[in-house]
């Protein structure tokens, strides 16, 4: 560009550069978006995918953990069931339910309770609800036989178990220990296991009650949990919560008794809909599974083999809660990696886009420069073509002029030499003449020659004037019809007398630019020729018309006169002093002048003729016309 724009077009060049800079920026942005957008989309998708995958993994891991916990609880309950079954089958007798007579049980039951350190109490209760035998595990671990036997007839676990059939084992809900109707402090969470006792005859003696301390396993549940863990009973009461809040609130008087479902009413339905479920709430993840004692314990061999049956309402809900902070922390490193990758991608894509945009711009610049060069070349070519055309025109003109000069030369050489030689011959004869009479006879001859020479010189002058004038001839817009009418008027007498029919047809064109004087002279010559060489044996018709041929205006003058044998005279018909018709006056100047005048203005004339049929002259004007 700059190479082509040295100097005069520097201003537009500067403006042009601004446009290019703007274009470069636009192209750069477009390219950047084009290349970076897929990466961005992929990144977002990757983040989502990772998020999903991570959560899925997390959920399944936590579910597994919950299921492990469930299993742990079951495993912890199993020995208790076994123990209850054992004591149910112990073969107690009626006297064993008489506190006065059951001291012998001490050794047996004492040994048993010592071995089971999670058993806090072992009791036998008779049919009326009165304790008949009771062992307590003290806080220091000592097993002590309690003499203060209590009446448990109003307690739930007694009421629930009065109808227990043989081999039925009852597990109470997890609750806090009460002694003499008052909650024992510190709170002692426990499950009571109850089995009915029958004597050998199948008579019901009472029940055996074992208090299973849940303290340790509750601690166990709380301890190894990375995330917040909740244990709820079937109603949503808190049995275990992360920081201990609300635990056993439903049992403790004056405490704020709210269930989990009351605290989270928006999740209650979803959580309760399935045994195992996970759901997102406020960016946190809740994972829940249920532990139905009846279902889970059904797997133990005792129940599997239908040796015993279990009765319990216990249905616990295990919940894990991962809040959004913890969740996002896990994904943080991945997201940072993806972000870093994106930053890198942005940099690389930007560089690439810049390079590409720049090369594109350069390419475009190059193409524009090429186009300009091309255009200039085209202009030059056109210029050259124009010059060529001008040269061709000039060459044509020169050739024509050459031919005309040659013609002039010939005329001078042939037509002037003969009379001048004749003059010198006559003059020498005059010199040698014997008398005046003889000399006198030469004068008419001399006069004739001088007349001929004069005519020749006059004609030559006319010819030379045409040759010299061709640049100064007045070209004007000519209305053809009146010009031809005026020409025909010159011959009106002859035309009328000889009743020569003149037809015209100027429908193709009516006007042209030409020399008026020349065209008048040309039409006079052609019309007078047509009249002069008419066929006296035929009704004479002269037909003058215009037409187009190869985009050129053509004027035709056609007659049905005697015609000329062009095979004989064709090459001479437009030459000076050529005559072809004996007996008809003619100087042989007309057609010569016509051709000369036409050629001097780049027009041309053609002739077709046939003896006895007629002659047609066709004037072909220059194509600019």
């Amino acid at each position: 560009m700059s190479l082509l724009c040295i100097g005069r077009c520097s201003d537009s060049n500067i403006r042009f550069n601004h446009i290019i800079d703007f274009n470069l920026l636009k192209r750069l942005l477009l390219k950047f978006v084009k290349y970076y957008l897929p990466i961005l989309i992929l990144s977002v998708l990757a983040v989502f995918w990772l998020y999903k995958k991570e959560h899925k993994k997390l959920i399944s891991l936590q579910q597994e953990e919950l299921s492990d916990t469930k299993q742990l609880i079951v495993e912890l309950l199993k020995p208790m069931i076994a123990s209850l079954y054992y004591w149910e089958k112990y073969n107690f007798v009626a006297s064993d339910f008489d506190p006065e007579q059951n001291a012998h049980l001490e050794k047996k039951i004492g040994d048993f309770v010592i071995g089971m350190d999670s058993y806090n109490q072992f009791r036998l209760i008779d049919l009326s609800g009165k304790e008949v035998y009771r062992l307590n595990r003290q806080d220091d671990g000592k097993i002590v036989k309690s003499l203060a036997l209590q009446d448990k007839a109003n307690r739930d676990y007694f009421k629930e178990t009065t109808n227990l059939k043989k081999n039925q084992i009852y597990l109470s809900p997890l609750n806090l220990n009460r002694e003499n109707g008052v909650l024992e402090l510190p709170y002692k969470p426990m499950i009571r296991g109850v089995a009915p006792i029958f004597d050998a005859h199948g008579a019901r003696l009472g029940i055996v009650v074992i208090n299973f301390s849940a303290e340790r396993f509750l601690n166990l549940l709380k301890k190894d949990n990375l995330y917040s863990f909740l244990l709820l009973d079937r109603f949503g009461n808190y049995l275990v919560s992360k920081d201990g809040t609300n635990e056993f609130a439903h049992l403790i008087p004056n405490s704020r008794n709210v269930t989990f479902y009351e605290e989270h009413p928006d999740m209650a339905d979803s959580l309760r809909s399935k045994e195992s479920i996970s759901l997102y709430k406020n960016g946190g993840l809740w994972i829940k599974t249920e532990l139905d004692f009846k279902n889970e314990l059904a797997q133990t061999p005792l129940f599997q083999n239908r040796l015993a049956d279990i009765k319990t309402n216990n249905k616990w809900v295990l919940i894990k809660h991962l809040d959004s902070k913890i969740l996002n922390a896990r994904l943080k490193s991945e997201i940072i990696t993806i972000l870093l990758i994106n930053m890198l991608a942005i940099m690389v894509v930007f560089c690439l886009s810049y390079l590409e945009a720049k090369s594109d711009t350069a390419k475009k610049k190059y193409m524009q420069a090429l186009e300009m060069i091309n255009k200039e070349l085209e202009d030059k070519t056109t210029e050259l073509e124009n010059k060529n055309n001008t040269l061709a025109v000039m060459q044509n003109k020169l050739e024509l002029r050459n031919a005309q000069l040659l013609e002039y030369n010939n005329i001078v050489a042939h037509n002037l030499r003969a009379p001048t030689t004749s003059v010198s011959a006559l003059v020498s004869m005059l010199n040698e003449s014997k008398d005046y009479e003889e000399a006198k006879s030469y004068f008419p001859k001399l006069q004739k020659i001088t007349h001929a020479i004069n005519t020749l010189v006059d004609d030559l002058l006319v010819y030379v004037r045409i040759l010299n004038d061709d640049d100064q001839v007045d070209m004007e817009n000519i209305d053809l019809e009146p010009l031809i009418e005026a020409t025909l008027d010159l011959y009106v007498e002859t035309l009328d007398k000889e009743t020569i029919d003149v037809k015209t047809d100027f429908s193709a064109w009516k006007e042209l630019t030409f020399s008026k004087i020349y065209l008048q002279s040309i039409m006079q010559n052609l019309i007078s020729n047509a009249i002069k060489y008419r066929d006296p044996n035929n009704k004479s018709v002269i037909f003058i018309r215009t037409l187009w041929e190869n985009h050129r205006k053509v004027l035709v003058v056609e007659d049905n006169g005697v015609g000329v044998d062009l095979d004989r005279y064709g090459r001479d018909i437009f030459k000076l002093y050529k005559r072809f018709h004996r007996g008809l006056s003619g100087k042989g100047m007309g057609l010569f002048l016509v051709k000369t005048q036409l050629e001097s203005l780049n027009a041309n004339i053609e002739v077709t003729s046939k003896l006895g049929v007629g002659t047609t002259f066709k004037i072909i004007f220059d194509s600019y016309e």
Partner: protein, 141 residues
């Protein structure tokens, strides 16, 4: 020589006059007949094919004439030649000194030579003294 018979076919009346004048000066016995163009010349020949006494010994033929020029005359003459009962020598009178024309003239078998116009009175006298010639003739110019 004095009994020679000439045809001059030329439309130039003055040249005819000068020829006539010059020839009568040389010898009153020399016959000369004039035709103002080729057509008239050939017409005469056609009508006198068998009459040798009416036919010339020499034809001086101008090239540049109306109605029928010299070349055309030569063409017509060629077709009559076998019927003509006399040996005629034809000399072309030409005002052209164009080498092409001269070469063309030499190609024509019926021609015996050519004379370049204009011919002065002395030139004519000199010519007549030489005619007819056995070899190709051309005058100095």
């Amino acid at each position: 020589m004095n009994d020679l018979s000439f045809f001059l076919i030329d439309d130039d009346e003055i040249f005819q006059f000068i020829m006539r004048n010059t020839i009568s000066e040389i010898s009153p016995n020399i016959k000369i007949q004039f035709f103002s163009d080729g057509e008239k010349g050939i017409e005469f020949l056609k009508h006198n094919l068998g009459t040798a006494t009416n036919l010339p010994d020499i034809i001086l033929l101008d090239v540049n004439m109306p109605f029928m020029d010299g070349w055309e005359f030569l063409n017509e003459y060629k077709s009559l030649q076998t019927e003509i009962k006399k040996d005629i020598n034809i000399y072309l009178l030409t005002s052209s000194n164009n080498p092409n024309d001269i070469a063309m003239a030499k190609e024509i078998s019926t021609l015996s030579g050519y004379l370049v116009k204009p011919i002065s009175k002395e030139g004519i006298k000199k010519l007549i003294g030489h005619f007819p010639t056995d070899e190709w003739y051309h005058n100095d110019f």
